[in-house]
């Protein structure tokens, strides 16, 4: 155990980050439970809205433990969540966990494809733009990236939908495709993925470009050149590893934005997924689904951030020394 616990080891860093993540998760659950306190009056009736029958209200109250003090509620919520029980929905009494985890893979597929596409295209473009500064591609990138990043994802999605599905008919408008046919599913996946990825490609490319330019001016790159390393190796091996660090960092935060964007994309392209699920639940005032769905989203977000921090520490050994306390520290 001692061997693993040395200063600056990945293991120790990982352990601390994990502990932090768990604390944040508990805090989020507390917040979710707290939200109902924000509501004046009887939360159950308010949450159910116009459909509030006394029986439904009582059921919801019991369900969500609204009669219990806050800390007990959080504890119960946490314990249940660990067991995989996220409650039942108010309309049909179906288990929330089942619905959420059925919808989750669709959303993950979309999110992962989008990130993959963005990284796959963004990093090489950024690399090229840095090495060939001032070229046509570099200038085009500068212009396009700001536009694509600033435009809201749903506007991009609708625009793509309009041109490529409605007008040109190249891609289907609705749904995720036939379950048994991977090719059809892929066909349905193309536009939504592009819609999600497009802003990210520009952002990542610009980020890689500027950090690569910065890195290439650093003294240690001069050392590499002084020892006759070929320029290609210098860029690909020495500079790129460092230049990708900021990209990895933003991916962690970006995943949250991505999930938000995925929600819109799911609705616009009428795909099943967590986004559609939560959205319909909000419209139907089906709060347990909202709560359960959001909890899963947040957990994934925290998990991804953890992984990002990990790869950050793997990429940049200097980070391993600092232990990233929760709450920021003095």
């Amino acid at each position: 155990m001692n061997r693993f616990w040395t200063e600056g080891s990945l293991f120790r860093y990982g352990a601390f980050r994990l502990a932090t993540a768990v604390l944040v998760l508990i805090g989020s659950m507390t917040l979710l439970c707290c939200l109902t306190l924000l509501v004046p009056g009887d939360p159950a009736t308010i949450l159910l809205g116009p459909r509030a029958t006394p029986e439904a209200a009582a059921l919801l109250r019991e369900q969500m433990g609204l009669n219990l003090p806050l800390y007990e509620r959080v504890a119960v919520f946490f314990a249940n969540a660990l067991r995989g029980d996220l409650g039942v929905d108010v309309i049909n009494g179906r288990p929330v966990a089942g619905m959420v985890f059925a919808a989750l893979p669709n959303t993950m597929l979309l999110a992962v494809s989008a990130i993959g596409l963005a990284v796959l295209i963004g990093i090489p473009i950024g690399c090229y733009a840095a090495v060939r500064q001032g070229s046509l591609l570099d200038q085009a990138l500068a212009v396009a990236s700001v536009g694509l990043v600033a435009t809201p994802s749903y506007v991009v999605a609708i625009t793509l939908l309009y041109f490529f599905s409605v007008r040109l008919g190249w891609f289907p408008v609705l749904g995720a495709g036939d379950a048994g046919d991977p090719l059809d599913q892929l066909h349905h996946l193309v536009l939504p993925t592009i819609a999600l990825a497009v802003g990210w490609i520009g952002y990542i490319a610009r980020l890689v470009r500027s950090s690569l330019l910065e890195v290439l001016n650093e003294p240690y790159i001069r050392t590499a050149r002084a020892y006759g390393q070929p320029e290609r190796r210098i860029v690909m091996k020495y500079a790129l590893k460092l230049a990708c660090i900021p990209t990895v960092a933003i991916l962690g935060v970006g995943i949250g934005e991505l999930m938000g964007g995925a929600l819109f994309v799911e609705i616009i392209f009428n795909r099943p997924g967590l986004g559609s699920l939560i959205f319909d639940a909000i419209r139907n005032r089906n709060y347990p689904i909202v709560q359960g769905g959001i909890l899963v989203v947040v957990s994934i977000f925290v998990l991804v951030n953890l992984l990002v921090d990990f790869s950050y520490a793997w990429l940049d050994p200097r980070v391993r020394e600092s232990l990233g306390r929760a709450g920021g520290g003095a």
Binding site: V24, L25, G27, S28, T30, L31, L32, L35, T36, L38, V39, P43, I46, L47, V146, G147, V149, A150, T151, P152, Y154, V155, I158, T159, L161, Y162, V166, I255, G256, E257, M259, G260, L263, F264, I267, I268, I278, F279, I282, R283, Y287, V290, Q291, I294, V297, V298, F301, V302, A326, G327, G328, A330
Partner: protein
Amino acid sequence: MEVFRRIWASPSGRLGMVATLLVILGGVAAPLIATHMPNQLDVAARLTPPSAAHWLGTDHLGRDLFSRALFGTRIAVGVALAVTATALAAGILLGVVAASGPAAVERTILAAFDIISSFPSLILALALVAVLGPGLINIIILVTIVFVPQFGRVARAQTLAVKERPFIEAERALGASSGRVLTFHILPNIVGPIVVLASMNIPVVITLEAGLSFLGVGIRPPLASWGTMLFDGFTYLEQSVWPVLVAGGSLTLATLGFTLFGEALRDALDPKLRREP
């Protein structure tokens, strides 16, 4: 003023300034230049393309798109400004308190910040809207909550940085009150980075509010948000592209404009970039 000149000097900054001004002027002058009332129905002229009567066409209820876009500006920019101003005020307050108060208070505030930021902004907004319900005031409140941590952290960091400087100790030794130190030293230092943050924040708020309205849980009719316009247009996309075009175009103009302006502002204020040859 030097700052504005510098922003004007860069092409993207110029574009940003022009777009931003267009949007703001459009919103302010809406009652004057709009050709129709935004909620005026004209069922006979549903989903028409641009014409002399309706400069940008009509939506599915025959309402003039140009006028709706103009009034939508008031919502978009109004909400963005209200949210940013409130989040700024709350953030600065909490940040300064966190930096200068007792450690327990600081830890609590930071923990609250961490928890709020652990939610993706849209998801948090949805969670809050699920509880509070839609509507203009609620949206302003909940979107503010989403953005307080950003400002709070910057305010705290700047306060900490200033606090450590020796001249502050000297001033305290001379008997300067905390209030004096706060007003004359800490606040001026916070202003710079916060102004940039705030200007970069506006397009994000516009996007978030329009997004919530798009999903139907934001601004409710009769108020015309670009988000609701977009959703309505989307429903009828196959019949007419104009509602989507107008709403989407307005959103893009506003977000692009404010983003470019914010970036140019940041570059103009950045001492590092002010290198003399």
